[in-house]
Symmetry: C2
Subunit: 247 residues, 2 copies
DNA sequence: CGAGATGTTGATGGGCCTCAATAGTCGTGG
DNA sequence: CCACGACTATTGAGGCCCATCAACATCTCG
């Protein structure tokens, strides 16, 4: 829950002028709907690196859209283990984990200084009442989240470590491409530790797999700078989801 | 897409008399809302064992509630592998995978002869317009699906095979308890092959883990009949999700 | 009854985790 | 501006968990 001393809130510049409008809430809203909508998203939240946005058990007060920065969500177990559930970047929506019983079930922490647009749940429910387009957008966003989870389950359940890494790099590449950035050169927003955890492997294994990909001249890596040298090669290492075939 | 010769449809008895109303769509709807709702769910679908309900790529035509039987959803890859995404039983809702772009992204097949209640998307969207309670229910259902995925990702990403099986058995136990059945004695609705795939392990490994649990006198297994002998022991083998701890 | 599907058990090897040491990078303060 | 310590990442050695292959047992159903 956002109540920390370091937080600050301020008036938000409108969605209609936001450069993320094509991947965020507004996507698919009519002009009229959008103007109604953006009057309800009246503030932004700033949190610093390593500061929590919400924790498991917190009441669901708002859904958030990331405007700048990056957020990691994760679960912790009673045996001291953790699982990173996702890395969330500008344009991504956060808070669906609290829909089931109005409490968050996962934790969200900033990987760097981050700015978010906050949409309080009360406003959200009212808007869903009057904006058919927003209901559609929400269904799409939630469906996208479910599809990403499906893909992650496939990755963790069936792939070897090299394939997992290749799949991840391809997904990140697409992510940047959709947002108008280079799909072959980009920076990893997360440390090795978190990425290894997300991909269900030891950090040492991740490091070895990066080295292996470099040796195959598929990518070059320098700390967090990624350069995809052979996109087809990377695709060959990954698994594409396809239609057909029984289990 | 449901278009097979074997299908049959018929008028459905009302939701208000359905013994699954506490875990299905109607949960949380007012009496008025429920009567409006059940007039729109005007048919059931019957499919036979091994018959598909929908496939990846099919247009999203309806969402379904399982009335009797069981459904397995899964993904297939271009390299011939598959990943079971979930086993769905009476009261469960199906079809959220198509919300992102109005096409299913996973496959759904009946594990046994199955009866479903069908809610066409056009009706669904109209109902969301006029029934605030339905919007709330949908958010809860979708949130529940997301939480289950999170839990599955944790299981696949962090746990050893024995822990995965223990976690699965506990979840199934809870599932039956909520529906009024015994939480210590029940039948596995799926073959070893599918369960092993779902849990990201080889069928042989699953078999060995069952044997290991039996040796510890935590459960007894005979084909698909499960008998939990030591619930606390099973809990000890599993991992509970908890609040606190950084990654 | 027989054939195919389903499940169990054993032997073996490999992928990946663990432990440990080293190298490189970042941030803070003198 | 540079030095220091803490953090982050890489690399190697050894061993364990689990996948694979194979044989067998049991069940299901035409």
């Amino acid at each position: 829950m956002v109540m920390n001393i370091k937080n600050s809130r301020e008036s938000v510049n409108s969605c209609s002028h936001c450069n993320l409008k094509k991947v965020c809430f507004p996507h698919g809203l009519s002009a009229d709907e959008l103007s109604t909508f953006e009057n309800s998203v009246d503030k932004t939240v700033k949190i610093q690196k390593k500061e929590k946005l919400f924790s498991r058990g917190d009441p669901l007060t708002s859904v958030y859209a990331i405007k700048a920065g990056s957020i990691k969500t994760y679960l912790s177990t009673s045996k001291g283990q953790s699982q990173v559930l996702g890395f969330h970047m500008p344009g991504d929506l956060l808070g669906f984990d609290g829909f089931a019983d109005d409490r968050h079930t996962s934790n969200a922490v900033a990987m760097e200084d981050t700015i978010l647009c906050e949409l309080p749940m009360s406003n959200f429910e009212n808007l869903c009442e009057i904006l058919p387009g927003l209901r559609k957008v929400m269904m799409q966003q939630v469906g996208g989240e479910i599809n990403r989870h499906h893909s992650l389950v496939l990755t963790l359940g069936q792939m070897q470590t090299e394939e997992r890494l290749a799949t991840f790099l391809l997904r990140l590449s697409c992510y940047y491409q959709v947002r108008g950035f280079s799909c072959t050169q980009f920076n990893l927003p997360m440390p090795r530790h978190d990425l290894a955890n997300f991909l269900g492997m030891a950090p040492e294994t991740l490091s070895r797999m990066f080295a292996k990909l470099e040796k195959q001249k598929v990518v070059s890596i320098k700390r967090r700078e990624v350069n995809i040298l052979d996109m087809d090669g990377l695709l060959g290492l990954s698994h594409e989801i396809c239609t057909h075939a029984e289990v």
